[in-house]
Amino acid sequence: MNTKSKISTWQLLSVLLVLRLLSTITFMPILDVAVGNSDYIIAMAIGGFSTFIFFIPTFLLLKNGKGLFEISDKVSKKLTKIIAILYALFFLIFIFSALVRMNLFVSAIVFPQKSTALFMVISIAATCYAASHGLEALGRTGTISLFLFIGSFIVILLSLIERVDINHLSPVFFYGISPVSIVIWSVIIRTVEPAALLVLLPKVSGKTLKSFALWIVSFTVITTLIFFFLMTTLGDASLLQLFPIHSMAVLSRFSVFERMDALLMGMWIFSAFVKVSFLMFLVADIISSNFKKVSLNGAIVFLGIINSLAVLIESNSLSSFKVTTSLTVRSSIFLAFVVIIPMILFLIDKFYSGAKE
């Protein structure tokens, strides 16, 4: 992997936090379980902190300071290529998932009466342009987008304070603990961003271990806070909305501005832009680093074309969307790419280090 251009841990984790928070604000209550609205708040908190357990392999690799491909290189180049292909496909799924969700948002909220195909193709072209600028530029953009994201949300949440009503909350565990555990699990398996950290580890400078722990705490606190505001302002009605966080922003009012959803919409699109650009760069970087014949920009253009075609084909059906949101599919992907493969590679590294000694 090309390690020439390095970014700081803080910059990379800012980008990853934006990615995670985007997933939070694009939350759709599509789980087929009966859960009380207050249980969602609890699930967010418990789910967030539970990731500490599932990220043990990540922590171990961070402590070791070696990226996934660095370790697989010790075994064989072929293994590296196989893992590279697997992770490229893994991130490609998330690019596609983000684009499908963005398309759904644009067609449902921004331009309900227009075809969104042109918007999506132009957006993908813009993300390709951003990805071609490399990790440093994306890292800096991520830092700024995190500031903007948090700032915008503070404005939205402050303007919602008068609408907060604790009475909107349902009794805790009203439908039992079992459905809540499914929500907790769905929170855990959606936190796949650390896989990017493991892939990009050779390009990151700074203390990763403590920063990563702080990252988990930050996203858990912010997500829980957003859900607290969501449930206390909208109550059970939030679970009937397509995009509940957007509905919450519609209610917010500041001075002469009747509603603040334009601010959320802006942040949503901006964060999605950062997410797709970053993942696009990541996949292109994995491919170009492990397959020398492919250039970074060539891979980005190729990915842009593939994603444009996929979005155009799938824009009128929700079949892919269903697949990408399926609990089984998500669980398998999470366990394979965030837990099992990193754990195996960590053990391999330990074995090789032991053999050397």
């Binding site: 951003a130 600028h133 530029a137 953009t141 334009a262």
Partner: protein
């Protein structure tokens, strides 16, 4: 198609080639004079004065109007003619004259005819002696030039009023007066195959990175240009390789600003004949800083800077957002305001986007006309444009009154940050079109692309957006906020510390 365009370009242009090899000066005076005459042709202003001194033929060559005639006679010609101790051997004559006869300090030796010609054209008197294969050049320059005047483009309220002039030696003097330290280095680099323009690279040797200085000098030397008539010619060679809407180079006409920049480790590039110096590398946030900020009290300077940042965003985005809201997102406007706006817009014949682009287009024409006209007429053009056309357009029902407010506001705000006028004007048009076609969605995507473009700029290893991204808390003391001199004075900021 491309072949046709290329052929067309080839037909009307010629490639700028590398310099011809230099010809050594002949030891025959007549051959040297013939060569110079063949090079200068019938130019009436090149003067040749052949005289006999002792037993040697000598010739003075100078450009009329570039030298101070009185100095030429008093300091060069007269002492040589009246000198009684001149050596008899021709070979020693020139050396003796330069060391013992001519009193001026500014002297240099030219060993090639090209260097001799360059010195003649720089206002030096060149002395050739028959039988000697080099020439001595005496600095007696005295050409007409503008005196040091008030700054025009960077007007300050409390700070110094002096500005650079077209004479680069005067400009260096202005710098030296402010930094009386040997660490201030001023190195000359020549650029332009025909114009041989002198470019002065100034920096403080204890603060500027040697790699940056060398990089700049190399870029200037390697710039393939035939003539360099202004600092703008060099900008593309010194700026970021990758296209960026915002330049990584700054310009200033103020010597105090130039000194402040050098004190932070930056390099100054002064082009002979241009009253503006280029600053490299330059941070984006510096466009919002003026010398007055440091003379005002910190809280007021902070307020002014905040206003400038807000103005910058209004200048670029307001018309685009107005179009997007009127066309796609009417729901964000308060109902009472929406009703008034709808009435106003309903009486105009054009779509909002066309209307806005049209009015901005007229505004840019009026601005350009006002700028190029003599000052007195320029003001009239401005008044006619603003009041007559604007008022008449609203009365005739061609444009809506709220739109005129938006255009006026965005026009005024773009002048708050004068260094950024060019990108602001271009981006404003771009976002108007984007807002009209793709609404708020397009504006956000466009703004994201712009942000990435800015984040990617990394001129001379210093990110354009630092200290915002990458974030540097220490440098924020003089960014959005301006802390007191008690704090700022304790530690000087260094540009190379902002790398990464």
């Amino acid at each position: 198609m491309f072949e046709f365009i290329k052929k067309n370009i080839d037909d009307i242009t010629y490639p700028v080639e590398d310099e011809d090899p230099k010809l050594p000066i002949f030891d025959n005076l007549q051959m040297n004079i013939s060569y110079l005459k063949s090079e200068f042709g019938d130019s009436f202003d090149i003067l040749y004065k052949e005289i006999k001194v002792g037993n040697a033929d000598i010739c003075f060559v100078m450009a009329d109007g570039m030298c101070e005639n009185l100095l030429v006679v008093e300091q060069v010609v007269k002492p040589i003619i009246s000198e009684k101790r001149l050596p008899l051997r021709k070979e020693k004559l020139l050396d003796f004259i330069s060391k013992n006869v001519v009193a001026g300090i500014d002297q240099q030796r030219a060993e090639t005819l090209q260097d001799a010609i360059a010195n003649v054209l720089s206002g030096l008197v060149v002395l050739f002696v028959d039988g000697v294969n080099y020439s001595e050049c005496f600095g007696v320059q005295g050409f007409p030039k503008r005196s040091i005047d008030d700054a025009v483009a960077e007007v300050e309220e409390i700070g110094s009023h002096e500005a650079f002039t077209e004479s680069f030696k005067d400009n260096i003097t202005l710098l030296r007066r402010r930094i009386r330290s040997p660490v201030l280095k001023c190195e000359i680099v020549e650029c332009g195959k025909t114009s041989k323009t002198r470019i002065c690279v100034c920096y403080m040797s204890d603060r500027a990175k040697p790699e940056t200085v060398n990089d700049i000098k190399t870029k200037i030397k390697n710039a393939k240009l035939d003539t360099v008539l202004g600092s703008g010619y060099l900008r593309p060679f010194l700026d970021s390789k990758r296209f960026s809407f915002f330049s990584a180079l700054g310009t200033t006409e103020r010597p105090d600003v130039a000194c402040a920049e050098m004190a932070e480790g930056r390099v100054l590039i002064i082009t002979d004949g241009t009253p503006f110096a280029i600053i490299a590398p330059y941070l984006f946030s510096e466009n919002f800083q003026t010398m007055d900020d440091y003379n005002y009290r910190p809280f007021y300077a902070t307020l002014i800077r905040t206003l400038k940042f807000v103005s910058f965003f209004i200048g670029i985005f307001l018309p685009g957002i107005y179009i997007a809201i009127c066309t796609f997102h009417q729901e964000v406007i308060p109902v009472s305001m929406l009703y008034d706006m709808a009435i106003q817009e309903s009486i105009t014949p054009f779509p909002v986007m066309l209307e806005t682009v049209f009015i901005h287009f007229i505004y840019e024409i009026v601005r350009e006309a006002g700028l190029r006209m003599p000052k007195s007429i320029g003001q009239t053009v401005g008044i006619v444009g603003a009041i007559v056309i604007g008022e008449a357009a609203v009365s005739a029902g061609l444009v809506a009154a709220p739109l005129l407010i938006v255009v006026g506001l965005s026009a005024i705000t773009s002048f708050v940050v004068p260094h950024l006028y060019q990108p602001i004007a271009f981006l404003r048009f771009a976002f108007m079109v984007i807002g009209g076609i793709f609404g708020f969605y397009g504006i956000v995507v466009g703004a994201s692309v712009l942000l990435v473009n800015m984040c990617a700029a990394n001129p001379y290893g210093v990110p354009l957006l630092s200290p915002i991204a990458p974030f540097s808390l220490g440098a924020m003391r003089d960014n959005f906020f301006r802390m007191s001199w008690k704090k700022l004075g304790k530690r000087e900021l260094k540009i190379d510390k902002m790398e990464k």
